[in-house]
Symmetry: C2
Subunit: 237 residues, 2 copies
């Protein structure tokens, strides 16, 4: 525990995923009382242009709104920043260039977790078209010897996208069940483990208590652990 350390969270993408990250930070922290918990300042402002549409060149860039959030977190004194959205990491380098506080990278933390756990089986990536097309995870995992499987176009359109947007509407059961079907489709094609590469996915699967959860690596949880490690003064500088 170090005086002055403060986690900044850029949320809003979506807002429930932000609350999920906070909850995971809190429940993963060994704490006997309030004062032992990780201090955090959170910019959970969802009025950010749709990341999917921007990556498909059919909508405005979310970068200015995300930059404002990063600036707010730095101004409030954040010493590390976590972004509670995988797709937003497409703009990680640009956001980091503007931020005095180092910004965690959710996919790099997930690779470290896979290596820590000795996982080298084929993993299925459950994420947005933007995350998959940008190869946010594949370009890290495949060179490390971890084969990646991704949803096909039909699974993305019929299972992932409606599942993800159901979570954003607060329809957690409907969303969880669709996302579980996306998980099963990847497993049917050979995925032995699943990386929940969109922060809405663990929210949905946990809501329905999905039987696939023991096979999942949850990047939100790895982000939470990195936040706790920073607060415990053991995080990477």
């Amino acid at each position: 525990m170090s005086a002055g350390r403060l986690i900044g969270i850029l949320g809003g993408m979506g807002p429930l995923a932000c609350a999920d990250l906070m909850r995971k930070i809190i429940l993963e922290t060994p704490a006997a009382r309030d004062q032992d918990h990780v201090p955090m300042v959170v910019w959970n402002v969802p009025q950010v242009p749709d990341r999917q549409q921007a990556l498909a060149s059919s909508g405005p860039s979310p970068l200015p709104a995300m930059r404002e959030g990063i600036a707010q977190l730095n101004h409030a004194g954040a010493t590390r920043i976590a972004i509670a959205c995988n797709t937003a990491h497409h703009w990680h380098a640009q956001l980091q260039a503007d931020s005095a506080a180092p910004i965690f990278h959710i996919a790099r933390l997930t690779l470290a977790a896979l290596q820590r756990d000795g996982i080298d089986e084929a993993v299925g990536l459950i994420g947005t078209h933007g995350t998959i097309a940008a190869r946010l995870y594949q370009d890290l995992l495949e060179p490390a010897g971890i084969p990646c499987l991704v949803s096909d176009a039909q699974e993305t359109d019929r299972l992932f996208v409606p599942g993800c947007y159901a979570i954003k509407r607060g329809q957690l059961k409907e969303g969880g069940m669709l996302l579980e079907r996306a998980a099963h489709a990847l497993m049917a094609r050979g995925a032995k483990r699943l990386v929940l590469a969109c922060t809405e996915v663990p929210v949905g699967l946990e809501h329905i208590g999905s039987a696939v959860l023991p096979l999942c690596i949850d990047p939100t949880l790895e982000l939470a652990r990195a936040c706790i490690a920073h607060w415990n003064d053991q995080g990477p500088m």
Copy 2:
């Protein structure tokens, strides 16, 4: 939806109660997509001296730390502030005096909810010794014709306090079961409804899916609704 409106949340007391308020705001908001959700900035910094000890004159005042949080939220542009802790409302007037943004009052919102729902039966208050001794709820509810019952010293010491602190340690099942016993004790003495007058209480009772929940008025939920109403441009000025 109004440009420029922004909810500020003073959390950390405890941090899980703050995440619970955020989740309730999000799930209560009719939203088709991320951008329809309530924008919020959150100061969830739990390094605030213990409110109970301060009220018992056995520890330092939490007021300076809470003032810093309120200043941070104002600086970030909050147009209304919610405090995710009942006991902290003991200092509501002092915090409001320093805050340009109006600060919601959790007990006044709860009274309004009781009146909205036509409740005039005896309510049991499940709250901290500080909240009960300061008569935060009784002085509002009793003049409005709503009789209040409170835990006795033994129930407070053996059920409420260990239940509340179990939640703060992240032991939600243990905490929920103790708090449910506190609820049953109040009902055995004549309480027909229960006011969850400490923000850890709904976290615990919801975790165990307590059978008393349909009888409960949840001040955290009323606070969430006030935040949504402000964002919808219908909140009190």
